[in-house]
């Protein structure tokens, strides 16, 4: 019994005394006023009798170093393979976003109209064409009148002879010429992927007016590869049934003016390596990889910052509500319930418009504000519940009895004990924020166009999904992987930090 005395600490003594004074009717057998104690004191024992007994067993000592809560959680998290893989994915995404632009320096807003909706490819070469190609002057046949004096019906017009290329064809332009057909008032040039036949000549590209105009230029969305041209003579818009055809192999090319921007030493006729587009380009010819990186900055920024801000606000509100209780609590909770009842996406759009009325912004600020204004309720309720529970727990009461001030109690005892639950809710709030951003940008109510975000890139990409799927697929994959990683990490963290909430599996 004597050893027990030394193990009593003052706080429990105080507690005993408090209990006694508070509830005199309860007959708590107390060690101090027991007759045994009184007798011992009367017999005049020396202080040596109260020396602690030496430990006689090694089993009392700890066999393992003590683990703090966080160390234990980390140990458990490390066992969860899914969570660790997800953690690495998250680290990789952050690196992709922050360090990526240093390694991949392509400008995400640089439009290259010659390389619209290009698929992913490793390298691409192009020949340089002469600068004077950009100026096109039609050729005229000498001695042939623009309007013939002797009309020839369209059906009797012959096929143009000597249909040929005027210069080297390229994706910049294809220039064609032919000999004048007597009696024609104009010509029409067709283009198509297949050899032209009567009745299906292809896509009408150019119509020239005047029987003496014997050349045309095609610079309309040319793609490298084989093409077939056809030309017919016209008589007052009526086509002759006879045509001339020409097959052309078109190489990738770049005009000198554009090439000089890439390489100051560019010369016409040389072959130039075009800037790499590993993931292709979008509908304005912008580099998709650079845009994905720049979009990641927006998406992840919103994904991280919005939940953290709402968490901060929520923890503050919930902490106040839970700690003070009573009327404050009742009113704050009433307000929280109301905010929770608002239809989320609807008010998200509404608030975004209200906060983001000034034009010329990228729309990120208003979206953040709207998100925080609507999603602080979750953390607030969570924190309040935790604090209400903890406030009455024994260790907090003990600390209060020792004279701890409210601030100390909150900072030292209440918050650290809610931190685990709050961290778990944060990891689940991040993917839902990324989702919300993607949804809003997808319906055109998110970030404002020149700024890329994964959601708005999906919105741009879905327009051309059937023809150029890569523009949609890449941002969609990134959104999915990010959300997946955060969800799995959240599952793992929940299992590691809060064994009580462990999911059944």
């Amino acid at each position: 019994m004597t050893t027990l005395n030394t193990s009593f600490n003052p706080s429990s003594q105080e507690e005993q005394n408090r209990l006694r004074t508070m509830n005199p009717s309860a007959q708590t057998p107390s060690y101090f006023d027991s007759p045994e104690h009184a007798r011992a004191a009367a017999q005049g024992l020396s202080s040596d009798d109260f020396a602690p007994v030496a430990r006689d067993s090694v089993a009392v000592g700890l066999s393992r170093p003590s683990l703090s809560y966080w160390k234990d959680a980390w140990r458990r998290l490390k066992k969860n393979r899914q969570a660790i893989v997800s953690l690495w994915i998250v680290v990789g995404l952050v690196l992709f976003t922050l360090a990526g632009p240093f390694f991949w320096t392509a400008d995400p807003s640089q439009q290259t109209l010659g390389r619209i909706s290009e698929g992913p490819s490793l390298s691409k070469k192009a020949i340089l064409v002469q600068a004077d190609l950009s100026e096109w002057k039609p050729m005229f046949a000498e001695g042939v009148p623009a309007t013939p004096e002797t009309p020839v019906p369209a059906l009797d017009l012959g096929a143009p002879q000597n249909f040929k290329l005027l210069s080297e064809p390229s994706t910049v332009a294809v220039r064609l010429s032919w000999d004048a057909v007597p009696g024609a008032t104009g010509y029409k040039v067709y283009r198509g992927p297949y050899e032209p036949e009567a009745g299906s000549l292809g896509l009408p590209i150019v119509t020239v007016e005047g029987g003496n105009v014997i050349s045309a230029q095609d610079a309309f969305e040319l793609k490298p590869g084989p093409l077939h041209y056809a030309v017919v003579a016209l008589r007052d818009q009526e086509e002759s049934p006879r045509f001339a055809k020409l097959a052309v192999q078109i190489p990738e090319a770049i005009s000198l003016t554009a090439a000089l921007k890439l390489d100051p030493k560019a010369e016409a006729g040389k072959v130039l390596e075009l800037p790499l587009r590993p993931l292709g380009s979008d509908y304005l010819g912008r580099d998709l990889l650079a845009r994905l990186m720049s979009g990641a900055r927006v998406s992840l920024f919103i994904g991280f910052v919005a939940p953290m801000l709402s968490l901060l606000l929520g923890v503050m509100v919930g902490g106040i509500s839970g700690y003070f209780g009573g009327k404050t609590d009742a009113w704050i909770m009433r307000f929280t319930d109301f905010v929770l009842a608002l239809p989320f996406l609807l008010f998200m759009i509404l608030f975004k418009v209200v906060f983001g009325a000034s034009a010329g912004e990228n729309g990120i600020g208003p979206m953040l504000l709207a998100m925080v204004a609507l999603s602080w309720t979750g953390p607030a309720r969570l924190t309040r519940g935790q604090i209400l529970q903890l406030r009455e727990s024994e260790f907090v009461q003990a600390s209060r009895l020792l004279g701890a001030k409210p601030l100390y109690l909150i900072v030292r005892h209440l918050l650290p004990n809610t931190l685990g639950v709050i961290l778990v809710s944060l990891t689940f709030a991040i993917p839902s924020a990324i989702f919300t951003e993607a949804f809003l940008s997808f319906i055109g109510m998110g970030v404002v166009p020149p700024t890329p975000s994964w959601g708005s890139m999906c919105n741009d990409g879905i327009q051309t999904f059937l023809t150029h799927p890569h523009e949609f697929i890449f941002p969609a994959i990134l959104i999915s992987i990010t959300v997946l990683a955060f969800n799995l990490l959240g599952d793992g963290l929940r299992d590691a930090l809060d064994p009580k909430m462990r999911s059944v599996s």
Binding site: A341, L346, L350, F351, V353, F439, I443, S503
Partner: protein, 314 residues
Amino acid sequence: MLSYIGKRLLAGLITVFFIATATFSAMHLVPGDPLMGNKAMSKEIRANLERKYGLDKPVPEQYVRYIVNMAQGDFGISFTQQNRSVNDIISSHFPISAILGVLAVFFAAIGGIIYGSFAAILRGKWSDRVIMFLVILGVSVPSFVFAALGQFALSATNKALGFELLPIGGWGTFSHMLLPALVLGLGTMAFLTRLMRSSLLEIVNHDYIRTAKAKGLPPLRIFFSHQLRNAILPVITYLGPAIATITTGGFVVESVFAIPGLGRYFVQAVQQLDYTVIMGLTVFYGAFLVFMVIAVDIIYGLVDPRISVSKGKA
């Protein structure tokens, strides 16, 4: 029971009133007004228009008028669509969104219960793992991606079959609804599958299941009359919020499948600052969601005899 329903309905009405007030204040905080976007107009015309829409009155009076009209079920006239009333927009386009939403919730609930049960029964086997992997995928992939992929797959199938199995977009017949509703419900289905599975697994170890087994009941009988009935309750609880997320999440799916639902009008109205349409649709949606949740809570009380709603956590 009746007093509980009355209390819940009253609380719901108050919430709707606050939603209306919040929307009104939000709209009047936006600089500019719906008449600004129109081409230059003379002062007289502007004054006339302001009088027509009541914009000439002081804001408090506008607010009172707005609340009174709304209480009588009149949401006013659209600013941008000539003389079209908001009630008319709601009555002609909300049914489309609602049918889509209900069908989506239906798919989600049925799919969630079936897949969740399979996963729980075949716990640890490869089919459980496949289902759980699909669940994580379903939670993590945005619905517009499913919508785009679904549309693509459908158009490929249609082409391969040589006839139209299902239309890839638009609205009109039941076959138009199937794919959009499925896509819309997919995320919720994934969530419900997980919920159903964990709720079933929790029940498996209860004493009464062991008793039933000991009595020699056939496994199917145990599953249907003991496990399923008890495990399904959390799923039903979740359906209320699910309706909320699904009807508002419908905006995206509606835009991909070119469905003339209410979502499109809301986005359009916000872009054009069409006061009346924005306020009307927000309050309407808000009221719909609030009362949906209340209805589910009441139904929940009826389904589960152990819960006495009058003492519920209202």
